[in-house]
Symmetry: D2
Subunit: 367 residues, 4 copies
Amino acid sequence: MSMNSFGHLFRVTTWGESHGPALGATVDGCPPQVPVTPEMLQHWLDKRKPGQNKNTTQRQEPDAVEILSGVFEGQTTGTPIQLMIRNTDQRSRDYGDIVEKFRPGHADITYWQKYGIRDYRGGGRSSARETASRVAAGGVAREAIKAMAPDMSVTGYMVQMGEKKIDRAKFDWDAIGQNDFWCPDADAAKEWEDYLTWLRKDDHNSVGAIIEVVARNVPAGVGAPVYGKLDTDLAAAMMSINAVKGVEIGEGMAAAALTGRDNADEIFMGLNGPEYSSNHAGGILGGISTGQDVVVRFAVKPTSSILSPRKTITKAGEETEIITKGRHDPCVGIRAVPVGEAMMACVMLDHMLLHRGQTGGNRGTIG
Amino acid sequence: MSMNSFGHLFRVTTWGESHGPALGATVDGCPPQVPVTPEMLQHWLDKRKPGQNKNTTQRQEPDAVEILSGVFEGQTTGTPIQLMIRNTDQRSRDYGDIVEKFRPGHADITYWQKYGIRDYRGGGRSSARETASRVAAGGVAREAIKAMAPDMSVTGYMVQMGEKKIDRAKFDWDAIGQNDFWCPDADAAKEWEDYLTWLRKDDHNSVGAIIEVVARNVPAGVGAPVYGKLDTDLAAAMMSINAVKGVEIGEGMAAAALTGRDNADEIFMGLNGPEYSSNHAGGILGGISTGQDVVVRFAVKPTSSILSPRKTITKAGEETEIITKGRHDPCVGIRAVPVGEAMMACVMLDHMLLHRGQTGGNRGTIG
Amino acid sequence: MSMNSFGHLFRVTTWGESHGPALGATVDGCPPQVPVTPEMLQHWLDKRKPGQNKNTTQRQEPDAVEILSGVFEGQTTGTPIQLMIRNTDQRSRDYGDIVEKFRPGHADITYWQKYGIRDYRGGGRSSARETASRVAAGGVAREAIKAMAPDMSVTGYMVQMGEKKIDRAKFDWDAIGQNDFWCPDADAAKEWEDYLTWLRKDDHNSVGAIIEVVARNVPAGVGAPVYGKLDTDLAAAMMSINAVKGVEIGEGMAAAALTGRDNADEIFMGLNGPEYSSNHAGGILGGISTGQDVVVRFAVKPTSSILSPRKTITKAGEETEIITKGRHDPCVGIRAVPVGEAMMACVMLDHMLLHRGQTGGNRGTIG
Amino acid sequence: MSMNSFGHLFRVTTWGESHGPALGATVDGCPPQVPVTPEMLQHWLDKRKPGQNKNTTQRQEPDAVEILSGVFEGQTTGTPIQLMIRNTDQRSRDYGDIVEKFRPGHADITYWQKYGIRDYRGGGRSSARETASRVAAGGVAREAIKAMAPDMSVTGYMVQMGEKKIDRAKFDWDAIGQNDFWCPDADAAKEWEDYLTWLRKDDHNSVGAIIEVVARNVPAGVGAPVYGKLDTDLAAAMMSINAVKGVEIGEGMAAAALTGRDNADEIFMGLNGPEYSSNHAGGILGGISTGQDVVVRFAVKPTSSILSPRKTITKAGEETEIITKGRHDPCVGIRAVPVGEAMMACVMLDHMLLHRGQTGGNRGTIG
């Protein structure tokens, strides 16, 4: 049991602090004979990398990943894969104020209350920098998925920034990679750009967001009942990401407002098996995939590190105010997109491997 | 690793199907010397019990719990507690149609796709009847919590049925136990009653709901970082409940629309430690409790078993229609209230025990 | 994490005390579509059952197993299998002395030191009666193995009682089932019989034993490196059996006295793959099966419950003497044979399932 | 679940291959506020380091450990501790023969049979070099133990090399550190030295050994019943070490030859609680510590990498011979001593933390 691990058979343990010498992920349970190179992983890390445009933190980190074990002559061997990312830009002088003061809405105070000690430099272990490790591990998962289900894809995008939502009618898969926000609605992306510039420069503020991640071409029958449900594991995976406060599968919270008649995804017989009239379920029934798109959404709160003063206390119990300087994301949701994708890739691979171990090869057929 | 277990140190494994001879929970890791009797557990099972009023399924089950192990002379011994509930009302003739047809929105089809065999009687393992086991286990957790943190409480209630929400201004803790819906707003409860009667009798339909569960007087510092976060475990616990499609902590999905300035729960120094101006965080920062109320919400979709015909297919792949007779809840959200409470009690106890094991007794102080 | 569970994918959790209403095993992760009936399991329970001859405890228990879940129409469904055995012969009056006094060499004192409470009736949870649950679970494992590797077998037998060893030259597989000791050497069995009768009747004493368990026709490549080694899991499985003080794989402790030249199992090419000149390794190299017989041995200490007086103390700290009346096995090793078999069957199945989940189907070939 | 991890709350995951860029251990669950420096860990690594004298492999590695995370200003923070050891002496040209041929008695063949790919350089993941990671992790465990039980110690030593055993009458704790074999009998050490020189130089052979590890001043009540027994976890920990074929607790395999009367450790009342007439049990009853010395022994087989030719096959299935050049230990048992100590330290700490989490602070008293 480890508080810093997730996954059953494909098991990822992350380690490292924001301003320590390095951080990384120990990836255990990756099947053998999967082609993995640093370049393959770097592709995904570059998506999450800070300092790429004015909408994300100006911290400059190459986030170059090294593979220290588990890969031999370009292929996984079935042994643990150690992925290490060195921290190069550790301007810890920026964080002086946080040594004694707790930032409201930040884990500063609870780490202190639990452990009686914390690495205050840049949030230490509670920093979103930890998610770089997840993205590296997710890169491995993507390659392993490719070997098992070549048509499967995992794609994330932002559907809401602050109060501004995308227009689903304008949804365009190609637009996602063409703006700074992984936004599938090009018009919304423009609006968000202006809003975020104002928020950052004039309002000294931050804002929340909603990210959606979709797995397509998922085999039916992947997942497990009761506490190891595919949706349970996806919910845990997303909720474990920094700043996440809500997770939805398919209709999500809106399912509460539906009636049974409206919510039923009616079933028809297609050429390659069952087809559905709709996907309220988000591709999962009873914790097991139906073969439809698996759809997850999660909400990210606004970062608590802002330039506006907020009331707080010190370790000594004195009341005071705090302004968080340093280089912070005005909308952490943007960089949460590749993180959400990585978590989904890991969970999907894990359950595809589990399915083999659980059923011993048996499976049901329809038609 | 078990797909039918949850919890780290306080570990619950449930077993049993809707129409098998019995179902139950194996509860491992309960501390010794906790007073536990069948009566204590029965109190909570009676809250969830079907057939209590016209708003829930008319299945008649006494749901009497037997303690088969782990308790000696009225006290837990530290060994596994086996809780068994016999199924007495197994009218399996009601379910004949489901043998060959898959209910839209139900796990019938995915269990078949995964396992190639399923117990079709009443949904088998995928039936919400499984949650009786959780409620029994939750009863044990409540007693163990009492021994460790006597002031702590865990209370659930419904805040939305279909599109009808409670009025937070009318929130009354005492109202919760005084209506059939565990509704804290007495006026809303009356409205829900009429709505549900119409839905059931005239519309042959079902409807979703949102449940909120609150833990009060939680010690600060309980929880863990990264993947073993208190909110991660709560999200997984709630998402594992049948029909749940969304989980929120504190502000939940609405956090996306807030700015950092608005979302900051400012900190002051009270007589007994830190106090907060608000609780957007839902009592958890960085996965660890702040000492404020821990607030979780989850959405339950409408049951897929309705009297209205829906299009579907058979195991043989033929297209057809299905009407689900049998005795089903028009709003499964009602009976999900004690289930959500039970899950929260189990998670809170688990993390209180973990905290002891993780810190070796160390803790931070403020002031 | 559970202290009362073992296995990774095939996970067994036992529960119950010697003199409680029942005991049993929750078996999770059994593949679906495996034929399992109570009769199949009863066959193995009858091997372990007490009161069968004068060499084992005279406690009379039918040890009838009930299947409460996870099996539908004679086949496993992939959901948890609950196996329950009722305790019918609970003559707890025999154990009065143990309420206050600790038996030397027994877990009485350590359970008290850990938990501050214990079920003293018949040893409670520490009684070897717990192993009935293991045998039932092992019966399920055997059927699942049969579905995956039909030629594989798991057989246990006693090779030493007290100082009396079998003569390996007289080893006869058929002899094993033809005496009360599961002894493969018919002559040794006769000698043991006389010895044990004297020990029990005249000496009021008990004696230890060594049991060997062999899995034959094991596929090569089953197991895993480092901490999940097949031999690591076998060692843990055997050491967890009551009274076991040592575990050996292949040469075992005697490997210390060998040289590298003598210990090398030289490899040749047979018709169906590699063949070996010897099996010092016990069928496992680097934690993974070679395809040779997997050979495990374990030593069982003499039971501490004897009719001879031993010095001890009471809970109050007073020095005294104790004689353990009641019905105890003069050589618990006899009934440990089916228990060792059951543990090995569970571990082997678990690793066969794991192999599928770990490799995603990849495997090496030779020749 | 991870095949490369051990421990429940104090959880160690090792990674890395013999000739990759680095290897290490991810240590999760170490309590906060424990003083840990690289120097503290280096002390134990130096005990295991190769090339220190002519009796161990001549591979030259500084085995310098770097702490990459989890320690801040010289103290643990409660977050994962990443320990990395770079491989500097990677003379892989020595291993050319092993690319195609399988060494008898080595994991070469089984890794191939399981994964269909392996890092053949120096044994890859199956190399005993992996144990450096364990020793580093054990160093952390020792410091954490010190903070919880200052009087406790964990000491290992060799009691047998080949057929040559120590004389228990000459046992001297101080002698252990004064010879190349961690031998508590100075006379035996001299004899072993001559024997090993002959074996290495003249006989081109290797030999096995038995190591004993003792934990002294262990608190009573540490451990857990049934499958999480202290002895079960110790057995697994030791069996997971490369080349180990047998594990014993207390009397071990010899317990088989004892009678119940002889094996009983009679109990008396001392000034500080129970005292015992003997320690056949090895300090553990029912899986829980008695407060006596915890005594574990394990047998290490002779290394399979020897200069004498042995018959084997190639990957292509051709019969051939192999001589393993390279730099190998003539008796790997010597360097297994600090590894066994490390494993015991980890297991003891883990169970001391577990005890806190399991009992919620309750405990029994005597007298």
